[in-house]
């Protein structure tokens, strides 16, 4: 059971940071709070005493997102369902809709925030691989005396291990900024015990951009989750694909590479087999997503040939 003495809903970031500064030890900042109550149960946290819960979802400026040049700024209140339902986000972040479709379920996605998923830093966190492909950075705020200071860290560096991040005591994550990649094909692969509400055994995100004729790969980005203590970006494969014409042989060749990254504590052989299939599928599905628009039909055909 969860025991809490005070539930706080600050209206501004400054207020939230001030509340956090004076909060007794063991207090927590929550956004969607969807990971909090499952934690406070037998077999995990058990009966837990959280003196103060600081709910940041009503903080002014934490809802919504905006385009800042070539980057999308997703405020801390952005929930997973938005990646599935907001047509502009679907266009700008083309691997996030699939990621969202596989994340928990429709009900939890309406509460669960992207930023909470990043800060929780689960090795199987579904949002992490696509964020890596989108070159995401996370913005965190703290109080320096009376001034609100922010700093930004790439998500790839921010997550340091299972449940571990560079977030310091007194800091609150305020936004995630990532590349706007309209025109890329995006995909997300996930395997677990069932479709909805399942923790990934392995997940893989991809973004692919081809030239106008759909022949040559201009840019490819791949990342894996669930295969070790933290998500990983597959830069070696990306290099091998860039500037190349995609063929079945090339995809088969690069698919063999990431097995060595599998550093999980369990089901290593299974994960290696899955990773190999996922890298190929992720590239092909990303191409297929490009083909939907009709202008890049040749890329998928080339692969299928």
């Amino acid at each position: 059971m969860l025991y809490c003495d005070t539930y706080l809903q600050p209206a501004t970031l400054r207020e939230a940071l001030e509340l956090l500064r004076v909060a007794p030890e063991g207090s927590r900042v929550v956004a969607g709070a969807t990971d909090l109550l499952p934690w406070a149960r037998d077999g995990r946290g058990g009966d837990v005493q959280v003196p103060h819960l600081i709910d940041i979802t009503r903080v002014d400026g934490f809802s919504g997102w905006r385009l800042e040049g070539e980057r999308v700024r997703l405020n801390a209140g952005t929930v997973y369902q938005e990646f599935l339902e907001d047509p502009d986000l679907v266009r700008l972040l083309p691997n996030m809709p699939q990621c969202a479709a596989w994340f928990a379920d429709d009900q939890i996605r309406r509460q669960a925030t992207l930023i909470g998923n990043i800060v929780n830093a689960s090795p199987a966190g579904d949002g992490l691989p696509p964020m890596l492909t989108l070159n995401a950075t996370i913005e965190v705020a703290r109080l320096d005396g009376d001034r609100v200071q922010t700093r930004s860290v790439p998500v790839e560096a921010f997550v340091t291990g299972p449940g571990r991040t560079l977030l310091q005591p007194g800091e609150i994550a305020t936004a995630v900024t990532c590349d706007a990649v309209e025109g890329y094909g995006g995909s997300f692969q996930k395997v677990g015990l069932r479709r909805s509400l399942v923790i990934s055994a392995v997940c893989c995100a991809a973004l692919v951009k081809t030239d106008a004729k759909g022949r040559l790969v201009e840019d490819a980005r791949l990342a894996l989750g669930g295969v070790g203590p933290r998500p990983i970006r597959l830069r070696d494969i990306e290099e091998m694909l860039r500037g190349k014409e995609l063929t079945r042989d090339l995809i088969a060749k690069v698919s063999l590479l990431p097995a060595r990254h599998v550093a999980s504590r369990s089901r290593v052989e299974y994960r290696r087999a899955v990773v190999q299939g996922f890298v190929g599928s992720a590239i092909e599905d990303a191409l297929a997503a490009l083909c939907v628009c009709g202008t890049h039909s040749t890329a998928k055909e080339a692969v299928d040939a």
Binding site: L36, P38, R41, D42, A101, I108
Partner: protein, 633 residues
């Protein structure tokens, strides 16, 4: 205000909510969940707690128009919100189209998932009135049902969708005519309206004035001697009304379906992780849990048995004194002469099979409410699947004549055999007798997993002799099952496994032995098919392997051996009729099976991917649609 919500040491928060269109002000513990406020504070028990961890969807409600899982939402988070529960859907009494459709198709069985399912279906059609079946499935993916297999639920949502859209007339929601016979017709369930509206009260939904809350201290050890139990501090904890141990049992302690080998609470030793050791009844669940943490139990760990083979070895630890060999039951069946049968065989196949432990995972965790009525009758309300037997057992446990013991069967939110064992009703009765107050206990999902019986894990060795024509000449069948720490339904499960062992085939010579032993694993008990599944898995696999070995069609080899009118069963009962021939014909037709030996697998088979074949599971119905819409010229 019920006493579950506000703990004396914390300051309650005042929540202003609009609930089903009415403004309500409620006090709640700052750590309370929205589900607690709805159920305990506002008595809106249509939202259920199936798991408490966001996995099952029995607690789904709308908050500001968005469907959410109320077990995951701190109540304070909903401050100022508009909340709509299942009770709000049919406020005027007339069921909504979704509710009527659930009633029509028989989508509600045990009903425990149904309020959440109705809410998820409602949300789906509110969000997209034209959702196709794939999108419906995807949008409802957060809600679990264990009875229906979902078909009837999805059928209902599609009918409701079409009625709402005007593609089907409202009469599509009316019951079908049954004519002169109910057989062969869809008849509507009488209890469906109470389930689709959330009105039906399960044991965990019931409250009584002055009701106390029970929590159970469970063993962390698989096998250990209990040296001492010190309840002094727990007894003295403010708000505690009683602490129970086995010393509180006034009569003859012991229950079980066949052998009464299980004490109400562990006596002298614990035999599995999760076994009840002590119980506390207090003003609130929280007080009971805090007091429970003050009970000191000193254990002396004993070597444990975790593998049924080990249980049979000489010198193995003995789990129950009465069964020095650890055998709960051995069922032998003999027919004909197996030596002669095997010598007449052209081929002999031998194979081993194993099946695993399975949890029933009914959506309703165990719950009960006990009280002593004005006539001194000890009354237990619970979703027991065996109340008459429970009543008799409780009578000797509490040393009262049978007319002073009453069991009331509350609606069973899924049982599947898992609620046949009296694993908590005894504690509730004792607490009610000791405190003279009504006492309620609701298991958490985790508690249900560790304390309730499971499907027997089994190991089967099967030896089968056949002629070249596929006729079985002899079978030797040995099954060893893990009964876990207590007997429960094990004996019956072994009988059924033995009786059904060799399947619906007429076998002249057979030797069948099914045996179940004690271990320190979670007890095994009744579970749908009651041992039949484990046996059939072995026998039907043998039939397929025999067909492959003999180059026969698997339907054909079954027809060669099937029981007919006049056949003698394995236990030598003469059958007046048999239906397996028609079952095989129907299965063969429906499956589109490509005739021949089952030696060709994979893509070259002609019977794969035919009409009616289920597509692989995937997600993304909306993603694909969005992409298509976006680029549509």
């Amino acid at each position: 205000m019920p006493d579950t919500l506000t703990h004396p040491t914390v300051t309650a928060v005042t929540l202003d909510l609009t609930i089903n269109g009415r403004r309500q002000r409620v006090q709640a513990d700052p750590g309370a969940r929205l589900l607690d406020v709805l159920r305990d504070g506002l008595m809106l028990t249509g939202a259920k707690e199936g798991c408490g961890a966001g996995e099952c969807g029995t607690c789904s409600v709308f908050v500001d128009g968005k469907l959410i899982k109320s077990c995951l939402m701190p109540a304070a988070k909903a401050q100022g919100a508009e909340v709509e529960t299942v009770e709000g859907l049919a406020r005027t009494g007339d069921l909504t189209a979704v509710q009527k459709a659930f009633h029509k198709t028989g989508a509600s069985q045990c009903g425990y998932c149904i309020p959440g399912m109705v809410m998820a279906a409602t949300a789906t059609l509110r969000d997209n009135p034209d959702a196709d079946i794939e999108e419906i499935k995807e949008r409802m993916g957060g809600n679990i049902c264990r009875c229906t297999g979902y078909s009837k639920i999805f059928e209902a949502v599609e009918i409701a969708r079409d009625v709402i859209a005007g593609r089907l007339p409202h009469t599509a929601l009316d019951p079908e005519a049954v004519g002169n016979s109910f057989i062969g017709h869809n008849t509507r369930r009488l209890d469906a309206p109470s389930k689709v509206t959330g009105r039906l009260r399960y044991a965990g939904d019931m409250v009584m004035p002055g009701m106390l809350h029970m929590q159970v201290l469970r063993s962390p050890h698989a096998h250990a001697k209990i040296v001492s139990i010190d309840t002094t501090e727990a007894e003295a904890y403010p708000g505690v009304h009683c602490v129970l141990t086995c010393d509180d049992v006034p009569g003859e302690d012991g229950f079980g379906v066949f052998v009464e080998d299980q004490p109400v609470m562990a006596r002298d030793k614990v035999r599995h992780v999760g076994e009840a050791v002590a119980a506390v009844a207090a003003d609130s669940v929280r007080t009971a849990r805090e007091a429970m943490a003050l009970i000191r139990v000193e254990y002396d760990e004993l070597p444990g048995l975790f593998d049924p083979e080990d249980a049979l070895k000489s010198g193995a630890p003995v789990i129950h004194d009465y069964a020095a060999d650890n055998v709960v039951k051995h069922i032998p069946v003999r027919k004909g002469d197996i030596a002669a049968g095997f010598s007449a065989a052209d081929v002999i196949l031998e194979e081993s099979f194993s099946t695993q432990q399975v949890e029933h995972a009914y959506l309703e965790p165990e719950a009960g409410l006990a009280y002593v009525d004005h006539d001194g009758v000890v009354t237990v309300v619970s979703p027991s699947q065996n109340i008459t037997h429970h009543r008799h057992m409780l009578s000797h446990i509490i040393a009262k004549p049978i007319n002073k013991v009453r069991f009331i069967m509350s609606p069973v939110g899924g049982g599947f055999g898992g609620k046949e064992d009296m694993i908590y009703q005894g504690m509730l009765a004792l607490a009610a007798m000791k405190t003279r107050r009504p006492v309620k206990l609701v298991f958490t999902r985790e508690e249900s997993f560790v304390a309730s019986a499971k499907r027997h894990p089994s190991r089967t060795r099967c030896r089968m002799g056949l002629t070249k024509a596929g006729r079985i000449t002899a079978v030797e069948f040995e099954m060893l099952s893990d009964g876990g720490a207590y007997g429960m339904s094990s004996e019956g499960v072994m009988r059924k496994a033995a009786i059904l062992s060799c399947g619906p085939y007429e076998i002249e010579n057979l030797k069948v032995d099914t045996k179940v032993v004690y271990t320190n694993n979670t007890p095994s008990g009744a579970f749908r098919t009651f041992g039949g599944m484990q046996a059939q898995f072995a026998t039907e696999s043998m039939m397929d392997m025999a067909a492959e070995r003999l180059g026969m069609d698997p339907f054909e080899i079954r027809r060669v051996n099937m029981m007919r009118a006049g056949s003698l069963t394995h236990t030598q009962q003469k059958l007046a009729s048999a239906a397996i021939d028609r079952v095989l014909d129907a299965a063969e037709g429906a499956s589109g099976w490509e005739k021949g030996a089952p030696s060709v697998r994979g893509e070259s088979r002609g019977d794969l991917d035919g009409p009616g074949t289920r597509r692989p599971c995937t997600l993304g119905a909306r993603v694909r649609e969005t992409a298509t819409d976006r680029f549509r010229p």
